[in-house]
């Protein structure tokens, strides 16, 4: 397990690249074994590298051929539905990461607005609030007030009668 973050780009230095290949290949083969065993599924891997004459395979040459036969038995459509290359795979990952990012930004905005609201409630004077901040704040307060009212009603219902009118 590395402690440093590795840049997602071709490793120029030969010995570094070779070492990385050796370690990651081993890790990948292990993961192939694990997923195959844990989930009881067929799988195979073929890796060509300039460091070895023969392709590196999992589970074995025969095993790969068996899985490939099964794979090729499928019609073209079934195969290619999930047949990815670097381009399609990376685009998929980019899309998913972007979704996660948008979601996190949205969550953070909510928390930020809560903070602003609570500070104002405490009597703080806030400078530098943008028009967006103020508008979003109003929206949030409307929703918050509704939630409070609903909560009060549900508590009163639980009691069976409205709690001391005034």
């Amino acid at each position: 397990m590395t402690r440093k973050k590795v840049k997602l780009a071709y490793i120029e230095d030969l010995s570094s690249r070779k070492a990385t290949f050796r370690k990651r290949k081993a890790g990948l083969m292990k993961k192939m074994y694990e997923i195959s065993t844990l989930c009881g599924v067929d799988a195979c891997a073929i890796i060509y590298s300039p460091f070895n004459n023969e392709p590196q395979v999992w589970p074995s040459n025969e095993g790969v051929q068996d899985v490939l036969s099964k794979f090729e038995e499928l019609c073209e459509i079934d195969q290619s539905k999930q047949k990815l290359n670097q381009d399609s795979f990376l685009r998929q990952r980019i899309r998913k990461t972007d979704e996660q990012l948008k979601k996190q930004i949205r969550l953070n905005r909510e928390k930020e607005l809560s903070q602003i609201m609570y500070r104002l409630l405490s009597g703080e004077i806030l400078h530098n609030l943008s028009i967006d901040d103020v508008n979003d704040l109003q929206t949030k307060m409307v929703r918050f007030r509704k939630d409070i009212t609903m909560r009060i009603h549900s508590l009163e219902e639980a009691e069976g009668h409205p709690i001391n009118g005034n």
Binding site: K31, L38, A43, L101, N108, L120, L121
Partner: protein, 214 residues
């Protein structure tokens, strides 16, 4: 501290998983991780490879660089090993590699942004927790009593009016772009502090302040 929804890292035995749902979830996650590692291997080390995995429902998933078919054909000796001296092929490969480089850079940037936002989220969460322990009205509404809720409701109503006035002012001021008036100041209240009741804490029935909202 509240229990996280999933248990995170646990040491598991490498044997077929009994529970069908657990098996499916594990398959999804591990397949995703596997292809991610495969993509990284191909990028970092510049190697050609293909990976095929069948799902528990016998659907085929594959990843390959430059593509699954060419690697499979090469393995089954159907194609001759790539002629890297072919000029046209070299150009195609160079262009493809440049494209992958671009995509990896884009992905890296997004991942960095995501990490930054997550850190920001954690900091905001910390501030929230700290605030909750100091001021009762910052606690989740499920923890408040009816009286506290009513008080909070009233204060919010007051605040909303003030913010509404300020919002109008901001809209007018930014439209006029007056150099004399500060555009960006929003006060939580105007004049005396109607939120004093919050500062002094909860005590008795705090009615009849300000404009008698009830």
């Amino acid at each position: 501290m509240a229990r996280k929804p999933s248990l995170g890292r646990r040491k598991i035995k490498i044997a077929k998983i009994e529970n069908k749902n657990h098996l499916q979830v594990t398959f999804s996650k591990r397949k995703s991780g596997l292809f991610k590692k495969a993509s990284e291997l191909c990028t970092l080390c510049g190697v050609e490879a293909a990976f095929v995995v069948f799902s528990p429902a016998e659907k085929a998933f594959s990843f390959g660089h430059p593509d699954v078919d060419s690697v499979v054909n090469r393995f089954l000796s159907r194609d001759v090993p790539p002629q890297t001296t072919n000029g046209a092929l070299q150009l195609v490969e160079a262009r493809r590699n440049a494209n992958v480089r671009e995509l990896n850079m884009q992905l890296t940037q997004l991942l960095n942004q995501l990490e930054a936002e997550k850190k920001r989220g954690e900091a905001l969460e910390e501030a929230m927790k700290a605030g909750q322990s100091e001021r009762w009205w910052e606690a989740p509404i499920e923890e408040l009593s009816v009286k506290q809720l009513e008080q909070l409701h009233a204060s919010l109503q007051e605040l909303r009016k003030n913010v509404g006035k300020q919002a109008e002012r901001l809209m007018i001021e930014s439209a006029m772009a007056s150099p004399y008036m500060p555009v960006n100041e929003v006060t939580g209240f105007a004049g005396n502090n109607p939120y004093e009741l919050l500062v002094t804490g909860f005590g008795g029935h705090a009615h009849g302040h300000g404009n008698g909202l009830f």
